[in-house]
C-alpha cells in the first residue's frame, strides 16, 4: 500500500471518519515533515519550507470536523493542513520538489499548496491574506444557501496584522459562516509571543467583535475537533463567526534554516511530553482501537510508504517550460480546468 496515489484527496478525506485513520494521518504528517527536512538537506527543495511538527492534532482535528465542500484558507505553514484535508503526500512532496506531480504542478512551491476538491485554496505567503478570503468564501456559501462554512487558519503572530482585525470585524458584522483558527504556537518567526503581543490569549480579541473566542488544547485532536464542531454548527445555524485559539507548539524552527536557539531551555521538552500523536495513540489504545505497539508499527509502515512517495516524486518530471505561461489569465494556454465549488 502506498500512502498516496491509490487514494484521491477526497477518499483520503473521507477516511478521516475513522479514528485510527486520524492517528495514521497525524503520523503521516509528522513523517512527511521530517522527510521534507531531509529533502531540503539533500538539495531537492528550493526557497524555504515551514514545518509543522508538533501541530498535527490541529490539522487533523480541523479536517475531520468539516466537510470536503467547506473551504479552507491557510498559510505557508500548510503541509500538515494540506495532508489532513486530503492532499496526497505525493501532492505535497511533489510540489515542494517542484514536480508536475505536485498539487500546484511544481510552479507554486512549499508555500502554495492547493486542492479544490477538498476545499483547500492556494495557501498564501502573505501574513493575514487568508482571513478576508475566507470571509468571501463564506459569503458565497451563504448566497448559495448550502450550509457550507469557511475556515481560515493562521498563526499567533498573524493576529497582529491589520487583515486579522478587518476580517474578524467584517465577518462579525455580516454574521458570516466562517471559523477563524489561530494556531498559537508561541512564536512568530524568532519572536516569542509576549514580545509582539501584549496579551497571552489571542482568543480574548474576539470580544472586540462580539464573537465567541475559545481557547482549545491544540495537542488533543478530540478537543480540537469538538471545538471546531461547535463553531461549525454555530456557523451553519447562521449565528456567525467564531475565533478558536489552538494552544500548540512547533517542534522545529520557523523555517528550514532556523535552529530555534531563541527558545528557553526545557520548553521544547515540556511540549514533547504532550505530543499530540502520543496523546491520541494512548487514547486509542485505551479505547482498544489500537493495540499496544500499534503506533510504532503504524509509524514504520507510514515512513516506508513516504519513502516510496519520495522515490516516485524524485523520479517524476519537472514541469515543461511552457508551464511558465500556462494559467496566467483566461487567455493563457493550459485549458479550462475550472473547479466549481458546490456546482457538482
Amino acid at each position: 500500500m502506498t500512502v498516496s496515489d491509490s487514494n484521491s484527496p477526497l477518499a483520503r478525506r473521507e477516511a478521516l471518519r475513522n479514528r485510527r485513520d486520524q492517528l495514521q494521518r497525524m503520523v503521516e504528517i509528522r513523517g512527511v515533515e521530517n522527510r521534507i527536512q531531509k529533502l531540503f538537506a539533500e538539495g531537492h527543495v528550493r526557497g524555504s519550507t515551514h514545518l509543522a511538527n508538533g501541530q498535527e492534532a490541529v490539522s487533523v482535528g480541523i479536517a475531520r470536523s468539516i466537510d470536503p465542500d467547506d473551504v479552507v484558507t491557510c498559510t505557508y505553514r500548510g503541509h500538515g493542513h494540506a495532508l489532513a484535508l486530503g492532499v496526497t503526500p505525493a501532492g505535497v512532496i511533489g510540489e515542494i520538489c517542484g514536480r508536475t506531480i505536485g498539487c500546484a504542478g511544481g510552479v507554486g512551491g512549499s508555500m502554495h499548496l492547493v486542492e479544490p476538491s477538498v476545499g483547500l485554496l492556494p495557501t498564501a505567503a502573505i501574513i493575514g491574506a487568508g482571513l478576508p478570503i475566507a470571509c468571501g468564501a463564506a459569503m458565497a456559501a451563504r448566497a448559495r444557501k448550502n450550509g457550507r462554512v469557511a475556515v481560515s487558519i493562521f498563526g499567533d503572530g498573524s493576529a497582529n496584522i491589520g487583515a486579522f482585525h478587518e476580517a474578524l470585524n467584517f465577518a462579525a458584522i455580516n454574521k458570516l459562516p466562517v471559523i477563524f483558527v489561530c494556531e498559537n504556537n508561541l512564536y512568530g518567526e524568532y519572536t516569542r509571543i509576549q514580545l509582539s503581543t501584549p496579551i497571552e490569549d489571542i482568543a480574548l480579541r474576539a470580544s472586540g467583535y462580539n464573537m465567541p473566542g475559545i481557547i482549545v488544547d491544540g495537542q488533543d485532536v478530540d478537543k480540537v475537533a469538538e471545538a471546531m464542531a461547535e463553531a461549525v454548527q454555530r456557523a451553519r445555524r447562521g449565528e456567525g463567526p467564531s475565533l478558536l485559539e489552538m494552544k500548540t507548539y512547533r517542534y522545529s524552527g520557523h523555517s528550514r534554516s532556523d535552529p530555534a536557539t531563541y527558545r528557553p531551555a526545557g520548553e521544547l521538552d515540556r511540549w514533547l511530553k504532550r505530543d499530540p500523536i502520543n496523546i491520541f495513540a494512548d487514547r486509542l489504545i485505551a479505547e482498544q482501537a489500537l493495540s499496544p505497539g500499534g503506533l510504532e508499527q503504524m509509524q514504520a509502515e507510514t515512513n516506508e510508504a513516504i519513502e516510496q512517495v519520495v522515490a516516485e516524486v524524485l523520479d517524476s518530471p519537472a514541469p515543461d517550460m511552457r508551464e511558465i505561461f500556462a494559467h496566467v489569465s483566461g487567455e493563457s494556454p493550459g485549458g479550462d480546468q475550472r473547479w466549481s465549488f458546490w456546482g457538482r
Binding site: 502573505i126 478570503i133 468571501g136 448566497a143 491589520g162 487583515a163 467584517f170 493550459g334
Partner: protein, 335 residues
C-alpha cells in the same frame, strides 16, 4: 438619443449586469443604503437586496479579500474603491492574491472580480485623493486594467470587465461622472478588454491617451491645424499594440498624453514598444506629455496648470510636427 451622465452609465452597467447574472454582487463603503458616495449605485439595494448590494465597514483589506474569496467560490463581486488611493491599504489582496489565484491553482480556481475605483485630478480633492495610480497595478500578470473615458466606454468596459474570467480593475476618472454625452444604452454593448479605439482619425500624428485625458486630446485635436489621430487606449494593461502600431505606421509620429508623472505613466511602455517595433517608421521622436513630478495641488489655478490642457497639448503636438523634435514640457522653464 438621450444625454447620459457618465455616472448613469456606471449605474446602468451595474444594474444590467446584476439583472443578467444573479451571481454579480456589489461591495463597498456606502454603496448600498446611501446609493454610493458618487451616487453610482442608487436604487440597486432596493432592486437586488442586501445580500447582493453590500455596505462594508471601512476595511478595504477585508472587502477586497472577501471579493477574492467570493469570486473563487462562484460569485462575481464588483468592489468599489471610493478613491483609488485607498488601494494603498489593500493592494496585496489584488496584486498578490487575486492575480496569482489562477496560476497557483493551475487554472482550477479563478478570481473574476472587478475593482471599480474613482481616480484622477481636477476637482480640488488634494494630493491624497486625486491621483490615477494605475502604476500600482499595471503590468501585474493575471490582472487587467481599464480606464473609462465617457458614458459609452464606461458602459462598454464595465460590462466586459464583469464578464471577464479574471480580476479586472476599472479606473473611472471622477471628473467625468458629471459629464454628459449623447448616448443610447444598449444592453448588448461591450468594449472588448485589450482593444483600443481610434477616437478621431488623422494623418500627421498619433495621440495615444486614455481616461479624462481623452476629451483633452480630442479638444486639442479639434483645435489643431494639424491632422491628429486620437487613440483611446481604454485597456491600459494589457494594451492594444496592434491598433497603436497601425496608427503610428500611418502617421509617423507618436505622442502620449498621460495623467501621470513620467516615471509612473503607461506612456513609457507604449513609447518603448512602438520604438522597438516601428522605429523605421517614425518621422519624429516619440513624445510624452505627462504631469510634472509633483503632488496634485489643491488650489484651483495650480491644479488647472498642473494638468495638461487642450491648448497645451495642441501646442506640444504642433511643435513636434513642425520641428520633428520633442518639445520641452512647460515646467522646464517655469520651475
Amino acid at each position: 438619443m438621450a444625454k447620459i451622465w457618465t455616472r448613469q452609465a456606471v449605474l446602468r452597467a451595474l444594474d444590467d449586469a446584476m439583472t443578467d447574472d444573479p451571481t454579480v454582487i456589489l461591495m463597498g463603503e456606502d454603496v448600498a443604503a446611501a446609493g454610493g458616495p458618487f451616487k453610482v449605485t442608487e436604487g440597486l439595494l432596493a432592486k437586488y437586496g442586501a445580500e447582493r448590494v453590500i455596505d462594508t465597514p471601512i476595511s478595504e483589506m477585508a472587502f477586497m479579500g472577501a471579493a477574492v474569496g467570493a469570486a473563487v467560490c462562484g460569485l462575481k463581486p464588483v468592489v468599489e474603491i471610493m478613491f483609488i488611493e485607498f488601494l494603498g491599504v489593500a493592494l496585496d489582496q489584488l496584486t498578490t492574491q487575486a492575480a496569482t489565484m489562477r496560476y497557483l491553482s493551475r487554472g482550477r480556481l479563478t478570481a473574476p472580480l472587478v475593482v471599480r475605483a474613482s481616480a484622477g485630478a481636477g476637482q480640488g480633492f488634494g494630493c491624497q485623493h486625486s491621483q490615477m495610480l494605475d502604476h500600482w497595478v499595471r503590468g501585474t500578470p493575471g490582472l487587467k486594467l481599464a480606464v473609462t473615458s465617457n458614458a459609452r466606454t464606461t458602459y462598454g468596459l464595465l460590462r466586459s470587465a464583469i464578464e471577464d474570467p479574471d480580476p479586472v480593475v476599472v479606473l473611472e476618472p471622477r471628473i467625468l461622472y458629471s459629464e454628459r454625452e449623447e448616448y443610447e444604452f444598449d444592453p448588448s454593448y461591450r468594449i472588448p478588454l485589450g482593444r483600443a479605439e481610434v477616437a478621431r482619425q488623422g494623418a500627421d500624428a498619433t495621440l495615444v491617451t486614455c481616461g479624462a485625458m481623452t476629451r483633452v486630446a480630442l479638444e486639442a485635436a479639434a483645435n489643431s491645424d494639424a491632422n491628429i489621430e486620437v487613440v483611446d487606449l481604454l485597456t491600459i494593461w494589457p494594451w492594444d499594440r496592434k491598433t497603436v502600431l497601425q496608427s503610428v505606421e500611418r502617421t509617423g509620429r507618436l505622442v502620449t498624453l498621460e495623467e501621470a508623472t513620467a516615471s509612473a505613466g503607461w506612456g513609457g511602455d507604449v513609447v518603448s514598444a512602438v520604438a522597438m517595433e516601428a522605429f523605421g517608421k517614425l518621422k519624429a521622436p516619440p513624445h510624452r506629455i505627462t504631469l510634472p513630478d509633483a503632488p496634485v495641488p489643491y488650489n484651483g489655478g495650480l491644479e488647472a496648470r498642473y494638468l495638461p490642457s487642450a491648448a497645451y497639448v495642441t501646442e506640444q503636438v504642433a511643435a513636434l510636427i513642425s520641428t520633428n523634435k520633442s518639445p520641452a514640457p512647460w515646467w522646464r522653464n517655469a520651475a
